[in-house]
Structure formats: C-alpha cells, structure tokens
Amino acid sequence: MADSANAPKPSSSVKLVLLGEAAVGKSSLVLRFVNNDFQENKEPTIGAAFLTQKCNLPTRTIKFEIWDTAGQERFASLAPMYYRNAQAALVVYDLTKPTSLVKAKHWVAELQRQASPGIVIALVGNKLDLTNDGAGSGAAESGDDSGDARKITTEEAKTYAEEEGLLFFETSAKTGYNVTEVFTAIANAIPETSLKSARGPGASHAAGRTEEQRVNLNGPRDPNAKEGCAC
C-alpha cells in the first residue's frame, strides 16, 4: 500500500474492533489485510496484542489499530475496554453458516448499546470462496447446485445492513477478494471530525486542556531517577 513520494498527508489512528462467531475468519481477514497472507486451518488467535496497518486515502492516511477479541467473546466475556473508543467495527459472519449471521446481528446490537455513538460498522460475509460466485472468479449468481455452500443470500444480509446503516461486503480472506475494499470503505466512512482527537470520539470532549497531562509510561525513564531523588 506504499504511496509514492507525495507530501506527507495528515495521519490518524483509528481503533477497529473485530466481532463475530468463532471460526468465521475474523483473524484471517486481518491477516490478509495486514500481511496479504492466508493460513488454512488457522489455530484460534493467540499472542497478538493488536495489529496495525495503514490505509492511504487521497487526502489522509488512516492507521488502523486492529483489536482481536482474543477469544474473550467465546463465553460472552468481552470487557467494556474492548469497545471503548472504537471508531470502527468489523462484524464478520460466515456466509455458509446461518447461525453466524444471527450472532453477527447480536454483535451489532451490542455495539449500538456499548460503543461510541459515531462508530462505523461494517458487516462482512466471509468465505465467498466456498460459494459458486466464488471469490471474484465471476461465476454465475444462480447457485443451488452441488458445489455451492452458501446459506445466506446476498439480499438477506444486504437488506439487514441497509436497515441498520452498516457498510456491507462479501469477502474471501482465502483469495483476498474484497478484503482491502472493506478497510478502505471503513477508512472513507470515518467522519473527519472524529479524527481530530488522538483517540476516539469518547475522548474528544476532553481534548486540548487535558491532553497535556496524559502520560506515556513507555517513554524513557529519567536516567537520574534510579540514582536517587531528583532533588
């Protein structure tokens, strides 16, 4: 996604959270987006604090901080911290598995209840490679014959997404089809105003006056500090 030698564009960090039933391909979508890679039979997510990836738009650069659920959604034990100040959410379902769309709708409701009001939500039906319209191969739409594992029609999910005001895509993390498009669409949909502050809209009311008192714990420690009082 490297951009040629342009003048530096304004750059903002955006917290993006992933939600969806287990094994619908949340991490695979991110892996495809961040590393342009795919692993068959990937183990459940482990060991990634969060991943970051830049998305270059014509007028600005968005740096996604992508938070994985780390499995805490499995027993309905996601912490409020997860939703806190998220400016974007990717709600993923498996379009070969009807229960996963039910679960996705549950997550959308949960986001509307818990997340910042201005959050951009994208509903993503993954595993398009398992259907007849398979991953951009251009196969015909009419597919009730043998090879098609699709259980959720594009129409059904799209109608729901429109009702709730969600972005909507069908993707294949396996082939990479539509993956970058999802993130670019999210980047474009994030209102310019909510990018002004360092972190999401939740913090914006406190920006300015309070910003100066934020402390960076990872900053270098005062080298004298270990020697004794700085008296």
């Binding site: 961040v34 990634a48 604090a49 780390a70 805490q72 309905a76 911290m81 402390v215 714990l217 420690r221």
Partner: protein, 464 residues
Amino acid sequence: MDEIAKEYDVIVLGTGLTECILSGVLSVKGKKVLHIDRNDHYGGEAASVNLEALFKKYGNYAKGTEPWKQYGRVNDWNIDLVPKFLMSSGELTNILVSTDVTRYLEFKQVAGSYVQQGSGSRATVAKVPSDAAEALRSPLMGIFEKRRMKNFIEWVGSFDRKDSATHKGLDINNCTMKEVYDKFGLEATTKDFIGHAMALYHDDSYLEAKGGAPEAIERIRLYGNSVARYGKSPYIYPLYGLGELPQGFARLSAIYGGTYMLNTNVDELIYEGGKAVGIKATMTGIEPEMKFETRAKMILGDPSYFPGKVKVTGHVLRAICILKHPLASTNDSDSCQLIIPQSQVGRKNDIYIACVSAAHNVCPKGYWIAIVSTIAETSANHHLELAPGLERLGRIEEQFMGSPIPLYEPLEDGTNDNIFISKSYDASSHFESTTDNVRDIYRRCAAEELVVEGLREGIQVAEE
C-alpha cells in the same frame, strides 16, 4: 459454545487486579489458564461501576425512584469501589510497561498530593513538598524547620546504603527511622507528613522499628522519583477508572490463550488426597445454564471464593462521595490525594481522600468523586471515624457508605492444598501492597521469583 478443556494448568477465581495480573503473567509464561468470575463484569471487589450500579449496590434510594437520572448518563460514570492511585515509578507501572498492557490503557497524572496539618477549624491543607525547593516554600513548616527539611530531603537523594560515608554517622542497618529524623532535628509535625504522606506508612510503628530506616528512606525516594517522573504528583491514574486495569491484564491473558468466563458460579472445589484438583461450576446468564467440571494443577483466587480458608484481619471504612466542586485548598485540582496523618486527628490510622473528576473520564463535567477511607478503630460510630475526612469535602451531593468492609488474608500459604489465595485490597492509597501480594502468590505457586522485565520480549505486536 466452545468446549471447556478437561484440564488446565491453573484455574483462577475472581477477576480482581491481583488475579488478573497473575493470570496475565502465567499465560505469557505458557500456562493454560481458565479464569472465572461469578459476576457479570470484570474487577470483582476492585471494579469501577456506573452510578446506577452504585446506587443499587448501596441501596440508598427510595423504591420506584431513579435518583441517578439527575446526574447525566449513567454510563459516563466509572466509580472505583476501591480507591487507589499508581505510583508513577512504582511496581505496578513497571509491570504494566513490562507486559505491554500500557497499549490498552491511557494514564493521566493526578494533579496534586496534599497533606493536612492540625484538625477542625485550625486544619491546614498543603502540597506535600517533594524536593528541596518545595520544602523551602512549604507553608507546612516554619523558617528553621524548612532548612532542616531541605537538608533531610537532599540527604535522602544522595543516600547510598552501601556507602557509609552517606550514613551521617548512623548505624543505618540497625537504627530506627526516629533516630534518623532526630539526627536532622526534624519536628514531630514534619515527621508526620514525611512518614505518612511521603513514605506512605499507615501508622507510626515504623518509627521505632530497629533496622527499619533503609526501607523508610527507600519509600521516600520512591515518592520523590515518582514526582520527578511527570512533575505534578507521584501518582497516575487510568482514564475511565481503575476497573480498566484488571481488564487490561485479562486481555493480556486472553491473548496468550487464557479462557475467560464471567457469570460463572463455582459450585464445588474437587479435592483428592487433601489437594484441590479441580472445580464444578455453572455458567449462568445463558439458556440453558451450562454445568461443567474441569481439573487443574492449582487454583488461585480472591478470598470471597474460599470462605473457610481465610481470616479477617481488620475492617476498612469507606465513603464514596459525589461533589460538584474540587476539594478546598487544593488549587482547584481536577484530582488529588489528601492524607490526614493519624496523629493530626487523634487516631491510630491515617485517613485518605482520593479525588478524581471528569478529567479522567470517570464522571460528567462539573462533578468530582471523592472517596474517604481509613481502617476502623471502633466497632461503632464509623461515620465519626471518617468525619475529619468528610469535613474536607464541603457540600456533598450523594454519599455512599456501607458497613465496614472486612479485610481477608489466607490462613495457609497454599502449598498443602494447592489453593493460593490473595489478600483483600487494603486501605492504602496506592498499589504497592497489591503488587507485593502478586509477587508473593507467584513465588508460592510457581516456586520462583516473578521477573517481569523482559516479559514482553515474546509479545508479538505489529511494527509501528
């Protein structure tokens, strides 16, 4: 719903900060952890709750009324049940940085650290001087005492336990802190704020402890170093309240494969040959409820999960107060700690006031949350015990004060039954005793010292 494994390395009960740090660290070290809480939220006793939840917890409202509605959106409130601050050069900060949990949290300075001298109408509240220059400006001392304090504080800065030339002729490893103070000719009131507002002792027993001087000096240095790190006070505080801390460490654990289950009651501990080997539990809040049984090599948890294995060591008194103004004499601080040393108000234990506000995203603009606490010294009149602290608050919009809160400690160290129990959060104003407890439990259950430095080396994060 996923399956629960038949066996884990560790089962952790309760999602308080102590438990969450331990499961985070154990998970990073490759242990397979199952972490359970009976509540529907993280944090246990040390959670931060919204205003509606606080009213309901204390029950101080008439049936059918909703008094929280006059205070803005309930979810704009994150009220700590246990008030504490982090020392910016303290051990919890060190653990947060070493584990990279700082990535999930944002911190701000606490604007001021104050101490009270005298009592009643003659009380003076002033900033705790942290360096020589502040000592010379401080209204807490007279002109000659200021110079003595300046000498003392400079000496603390240059003190080296190994270099007897810096010991002022004292037998530093065997003398008492009182002897050190006396060497500098410090007055009783000065000793009081040094010992209680800088060294952060809760009572005066440290004064006469033989060989206690180096520890006291170390505590004063920790205070000085913590102030020096960011400037205003030695304390920092996470945006959205202390409840974010256990959530951050729970996330660390989850990222390393820890399994989290809220809303889950432990029905029974399973023993074999006197040792705990597993649990029977029920996850509620789902239809149908899920009963399960699983095993583990050891069980960790907070005292509330092991009522027969803990003893009460004291009681904390605590009043959570909602204000519409900052504390008087604190320079209109958006946040502060005010310590009232015990001897100033005729007590044996200090009174602490921790005050935070909208600047920390814990309440709507225009409000302050002040929590007054102390160790109970009587079995009645608890309100009177807190009175010197409550007097400092001015007009109080709402006050939440329940019965005295028992402090628990485990009866055994866990080596007999494989059950390792944490202590309750004490009345102290910071987390140093909490991290001591974490280290102690880790030492007992893992049979090695906890070294957090370098822990994040293995943590996989994307390039910046």
